[in-house]
């Protein structure tokens, strides 16, 4: 790639070293821990599914029971007891799920022969990883079959009716209009639920519940419209929250293609406990990596609360950290959809140039990464005509800097969740703009001492200073002191701390072991 910004390579390398330094102690912590949702995700991979009459999912029934049975039980991993019950009861996974949903106590069967459990588990690991590999192969095949049929950048549209069947209608219409990626927005506050609801759902607020059945329904619908349109339509959902690994597991099983997954989003923006989040994100990302799922990180969120011009460096710093945490979980650059956003105050003089600079900088520092670029939201207003103009320039910058995943801005962003026509207008605008400037990226250079170049150098330097500070203070303390996103989160505060599990010496999790092996993460 030809550089347009002439960022010094040694400074970029130094920033990556800082990220490694910052994340090292966190990684050590992670390695010693699991969490209730990591255990539930493991169970889900093994086949645990369904819910009891009150809607409590089987994985929760199991883990809650094990937890209640004493802390030493979960330290060995939930899978051990689940598989033990399978072996001891001599039932299928489906039958066991059924039994558990009906009240069967997973602690009843005494712990049996480890060898038998090991063998049975291997069988489950093989079955489940084969399914995930099949999904990956199917995706590769389809993307090969329909190659060059998607837009560049990929056009990403959200649906958010709250009802999966309505979502399907809207998603199909969006795909017919030209969407390459459909994201089903999650219902408000699902990220704070410490369980994943079961089955198809039709009641959500501002979004639709992420459930495995909903994933399946939407996947089938997109495959159908994809065949008509001769385009592989990518499906996205949201992992970050109290159930990151479970949602990742469901996504892997149902062939999702992207997943919102940020190493710190839950901590900063949902007040989830920091230790819990760091542990959860790691396991969820290993699953994503294994399933070939692109993660989308949430740097854009920094800019909804802080000023996008002043705090642009926090976005870059977070990209370095997300990248590093991603590497540590086995994600290669091409699965790292690092986030950023077009969020500057539209009244800033030369704001367009600063946005261009930020986007180009991300492109050059993360050259192989399918960058996820978010539209203006904060400064959108009821003036839909102004909003449309802002989206037009956003579309322009995205194409002008060769972004990877392009979230379409809605002219009604400040008014309501998207109407069907809003989405159409968004796609139409993006297609017009991007086709009309197809070759811009290759045609344009920036003046060496100009605004765009200077700004990128400044932001890189600010990001480095910031990361030096964080490296000095330490990650956990930095979060506690509010260095990120101007939010302070106490180490032992936030939701979900009680769900953290210290791994015992006999911690049993062949799924984790399989991923570590296959992803080449062994030390």
């Amino acid at each position: 790639m030809r550089t347009k910004l002439h960022l010094p390579k040694d400074r970029v390398d130094y920033a990556r070293q800082l990220a490694r330094k910052i994340s090292a102690p966190v990684a050590d912590f992670i390695d010693g821990h699991s969490s209730v949702t990591v255990e539930r995700a493991t169970l889900r991979l093994a086949g645990a599914d369904g819910a009891n009459a009150d809607g409590v999912p089987v994985p929760n029934l199991v883990v809650d029971r094990l937890k209640a049975a004493g802390s030493e039980i979960l330290e060995e991993g939930a899978l051990l007891r689940y598989v033990n019950a399978l072996v001891k009861e001599g039932v299928s996974v489906e039958q066991l799920n059924q039994k558990i949903a009906s009240g069967f106590d997973i602690m009843t069967p005494a712990l049996g022969d480890r060898g038998a459990i090991q063998r049975k588990t291997e069988e489950l690991v093989n079955r489940s990883t084969a399914r995930v590999k099949d999904n990956r192969a199917h995706r590769d095949r389809k993307q090969e079959e329909f190659r060059d049929r998607n837009s560049k950048p990929l056009l990403y549209l959200i649906v958010a009716t709250g009802n999966i069947y309505e979502d399907v209608k809207q998603a199909k219409a969006a795909a017919m209009q030209g969407a390459d990626v459909i994201a089903v927005i999650r219902t408000t506050a699902q990220s704070l639920l410490d369980y994943v609801p079961f089955g198809a759902t039709t009641e959500g607020f501002g979004g639709t519940y992420a459930t495995q059945e909903n994933f399946r329904i939407m996947r089938a619908a997109l495959d159908e419209v994809g065949e008509q349109q001769k385009r592989y339509i990518l499906l996205t959902n949201y992992a970050s929250g109290l159930c990151m690994p479970e949602i990742a597991a469901m996504g892997a099983l149902e062939r999702l293609d992207m997943m919102l997954n940020d190493s710190m989003y839950g901590i900063l923006f949902r007040d989830i406990n920091m230790y819990r989040t760091f542990v959860d994100q790691k396991f969820s990302r290993m699953i994503n990596a294994y399933a070939g799922i692109i993660i989308n990180t949430g740097e854009d969120n920094y800019l909804t609360t802080s000023d996008a011009f002043e705090k642009a460096y926090t976005v870059l710093a977070s990209q370095f950290l997300n990248e590093e945490f991603g590497f540590r979980a086995g994600l290669p650059p091409k699965l790292l959809g690092l986030g950023h956003a077009f969020e500057m105050d539209p009244s800033i003089k030369n704001g367009f140039l600063y946005e261009l600079s930020q986007a180009q900088m991300a492109r050059e520092i993360f050259p192989e990464h399918p960058l996820k670029y978010m539209p203006p939201t904060k400064f959108m207003s009821g003036d839909i005509f102004k909003g449309l103009a802002m989206n037009t320039l956003f579309n322009f910058v995205s194409k002008a800097t060769n972004q990877g995943i392009h979230l379409l801005g809605m002219l009604t962003e400040a008014v309501h969740t998207p109407f069907m026509m809003d989405r159409y207008l968004a796609v139409d605008n993006a297609k017009y703009v991007m086709n009309s400037m197809e070759g811009f990226y290759d045609d344009i250079e920036f003046r060496k001492d100009g605004i765009v170049v200077q700004r990128a150098h400044d932001v890189l330097n600010q990001a480095i200073s910031f990361m030096e500070q964080v490296a000095g203070v330490g990650m956990f303390d930095s979060i506690e002191r509010g260095l990120f996103a101007e939010v302070k989160r106490p180490k032992d505060g936030g939701k979900g701390l009680e769900g953290l599990i210290k791994k015992g010496p006999a911690y049993f999790n062949p799924f984790e072991a399989h991923f570590i092996r296959e992803l080449g993460l062994g030390k």
């Binding site: 009716t161 207003s381 009821g382 005509f385 400040a414 008014v415 309501h416 969740t417 069907m420």
Partner: protein
């Protein structure tokens, strides 16, 4: 009966976007006036999501309303000279050879003070428009395009001279209903001369609907997106129909 309402993101939610100007200053009172006005149009809910001053005396509003009314879609009759029955250029020529047996003569112009010739040229000129050749290219037709700003009187004279089958009138400027006055004058002139039945009268232009044209006494009207083949198909069918009467 199939009842249809506007759709935002849920069936029958009735959502409609509106924008307009009011001759009042911007402010809370203006926004409330805007809201009331929208409600007066039979919308149930209305949210004025934006307002801004255009001057000291005018202000601009963007609103979203929720319509209560619906219509019976089954009872709607599409009224556009639509292109379902359209033949291709070759088919039209064949039709003429089979059913008329002589060249069909067509005269067209952009009449009155109107100088927007691109539309009538799109229909008549050789090269046509959007990959539809114009009438001049039809071997079985003789097409005379008189161009811009042709007085009605002169257009009729010419049509008589070349013994035209059809007269094509293009009207693009509609401000202050100038097209209506001009189109009406054309028909009145024809009638005064006792020539209305002699010609097939075709009107066209971006704001001309079939309904309006027929109301004003034309045989047909073509709006946005009309092509030469639509017009040719209509004309040749009409000639045969007239012969049969």
């Amino acid at each position: 009966m199939r009842v249809v309402k506007p759709y935002g993101d849920t069936m029958d939610d009735g959502k409609v976007q509106l924008s307009f100007t009011l001759p009042v200053p911007d402010g809370a009172k203006g926004r409330e006036a805007a809201r009331k006005l929208v409600l007066s149009w039979g919308f149930k809910d209305c949210e004025v999501v934006h307002s801004s001053p255009l001057s000291d005396e005018f202000s601009f509003y963007v609103a979203y309303g929720k319509s209560e009314s619906s219509i019976d879609y089954d009872s709607v009759v599409a009224d556009e000279a639509d292109s379902d029955g359209t033949m291709s250029m070759d088919e039209v020529n064949e039709f003429i050879r089979q059913n008329i047996g002589r060249k069909v003569v067509v005269v067209g112009a952009c009449t009155g003070f109107d100088a927007h010739t691109v539309g009538i040229d799109a229909i008549m000129n050789m090269k046509g428009y959007n990959h539809h050749f114009g009438l001049e290219r039809y071997p079985e037709m003789e097409a005379y395009n008189l161009g811009a700003q042709v007085p009605n009187e002169k257009l009729i004279e010419y049509a008589v001279k070349v013994n035209a089958d059809a007269i094509l009138v293009s009207q693009v400027v509609t401000q202050k209903d100038t097209h209506i006055h001009n189109m009406t004058e054309f028909i009145e002139l024809l009638e005064a001369k006792g020539l209305r039945q002699k010609f097939i009268c075709v009107a066209g232009g971006p704001r001309i609907g079939n309904k309006l044209a027929v109301e004003l006494g034309y045989d047909v009207g073509f709006g946005r997106g009309a092509y030469a083949d639509d017009v040719a198909s209509y004309v040749v069918n009409k000639i045969v129909e007239k012969k049969q009467r």
